[in-house]
Symmetry: C2
Subunit: 414 residues, 2 copies
Amino acid sequence: MHSSLPVYVNSLRVGLKLKGMRECKVSRTAMDNPLMLMIPGPTPVPEQVLLASAQPPISHRSLEFQTLMAQVTADLKWLHQTQNDVLILASSGTGAMEAGILNFLSPGDRVLVGCNGKFGERWANLCDKFGLITERITAPWGCPLDPQAFRRHLEADQAKQIKAMIVTHSETSTGVLNDLAAIAQAVTVHAQALVIVDAVTSLGVCPVPVDTWGLDVVVSASQKGYRMPPGLGFVAVSPKAWQAYTTAQFPRFYFDLGEYQKAAATHTTPFTPPINLFFALQASLGMMRSQGLAALFSHQQRLMQATRAAMRALDLPLFVPTDTLASPAVTAIAPEHVDPEQLRSQLQKQYGVVIAPGQDHLRGKLLRIGHLGHICERDILTTVAALEATLSDLGHKIQPGEGIQAVRCCFDQI
Amino acid sequence: MHSSLPVYVNSLRVGLKLKGMRECKVSRTAMDNPLMLMIPGPTPVPEQVLLASAQPPISHRSLEFQTLMAQVTADLKWLHQTQNDVLILASSGTGAMEAGILNFLSPGDRVLVGCNGKFGERWANLCDKFGLITERITAPWGCPLDPQAFRRHLEADQAKQIKAMIVTHSETSTGVLNDLAAIAQAVTVHAQALVIVDAVTSLGVCPVPVDTWGLDVVVSASQKGYRMPPGLGFVAVSPKAWQAYTTAQFPRFYFDLGEYQKAAATHTTPFTPPINLFFALQASLGMMRSQGLAALFSHQQRLMQATRAAMRALDLPLFVPTDTLASPAVTAIAPEHVDPEQLRSQLQKQYGVVIAPGQDHLRGKLLRIGHLGHICERDILTTVAALEATLSDLGHKIQPGEGIQAVRCCFDQI
């Protein structure tokens, strides 16, 4: 496996030297000591999922593929807690978002978009680009969207011109978990607007009961809660959304979900699927099913609570102070007495732990610790230990062990 | 690795039984004896490419990824023999085709589409769906497109209303290799129309010198000549096409190639890339570069010539009789005294060799043997031996060894 890597591994070393940073003390290549990804995607992936993806491709027009397709489709419905169609695209999450718009709306339609972070803004930009009339329901980055603001807008729309309400469930850029249940409930006053949801960092991480909450279009991507590599997008589609599909006017071909639905009826895909990623999907969903939804979600809660307890103990302010508003996918901190970029850089160089910076105007102000995907308790302990060590390395006075102790107590209690 | 497979492997066996077919004599699972893919994609993939793809994901916002991205981009330009941008999409080839239209044309534009097979028709359908005024230059399936027909159409367009000429280089559905050089040359009488090309089964298989031939937009996909799994699409874009981009009016977001170009300038991607497929791409392009273009193409010529010689020896009529019109990616035969579907089915069940059926109206009439991707001389020998054996099994009188002998002679001579 090393043979394919020398160029980038060498360049990594050269690059570090060029930037004048101290070289990593531990000799590291991607294989013998990969960096530890504590970012909100791509996430670590179980070895058996990676190995499943390395099987020789099979024909996508075969009984084997049909059987595989039938199984992953059933498992996806289980994960979404839905009877709706769940369709699989060869695309990133953004491709799935685009499919979620193109198939159910027409140019000039009015849409309400919740914007309290980068991914809410991405929805709004996408809608703007496609010539929709986009109205933003905003909240400051780091604060949750107000379900009542949606309700007021929808109640005021007596002419029923608003065709969809678009919400990001877990806002990856800030670590806010929007109250999707309450926001979806707000739509019931309107009856017509579709509920279109970005569940990219909530599916597999916390409950997204699609049918119970009445979500019409739910978009996700493989490199997050699915515990697999990037490259697949998913769109769950309700009967109400299929109704809207029949009159939607955007031109579409590759992302025409009707074609995917038609093909799925015979357990296939309209275009060549990324077969090896389907192998990975089969393996990862199989692991998830064997754990069960309740265990998956309580595991994520433990990781989040422990991370938050450690940040408090280390005096690293939580960007989302209230636990009930926090995403179990990612914890954002806004360090006050530490340069975030120096902390992040040193953590990676010295200890091989990668955390994410803030995005857009919060770059240089925020740090984001991802704890979704194939992450266990030990990984949280490791990350907090490395953070403690890095803070000490950078000359910050901390009481060694306080973060670790907070993690331990948390795991003890919940 | 077996753990992820029991369901589909079991179902494969059950499925075969249910259909009343004789069970395969050789106990087979996807791992211990995978079916041999002699179809025009997905192709067999070298083990080191599969293993490269099974490495733990890295962050796509990292120096490691930038270095990887810079390397694969340079290697893609080498493969395309171009100085133009070559952009990488998370999509199938059809997604790349759509990007090749959306970014350079506007609703109502006139386009000339070459149609002599299923993939030419797919271009035309795509153009129709997007509201272009599509004029088809047709030839019967199995016959090549006439460059002069393009020239006549373009000469007649004094008002320069035709914005693009769209051609499938290697028509996978029939095994015809269209004369792309001559067709592209025909555009020079027009000066304005873009040359948009589907090189999905010609890149890496036969010369596609993008700059020499003046190709403006060239689309391909990873599961063909690239010798890797499906999931990546590629689009090469000329300066003339970028000029058209500035006035193109289709709404676009996920497939907005301008964003990919902007990101590529700093060796990154606008959306999360399928990182593990990038590892595979790096490995496969590395192998291809170490072989060299001339060796790659002459290897493919040998495989094609040997396959064609064997079909002649076995009295299985070639659908494209003239060697110079035949694609080095796939050889189609139109058996006269054998039921194609019975032959194909028996070949797979008894000997584990998968070949492809005809498509659309040629299903049940044609068989297609793919010989692109990670295929060697031995694989052609194996396929021909299995074909001979299957013909005998089905009671057809053939002289055993004639096909094999033809292959051997061919390899001896070229």
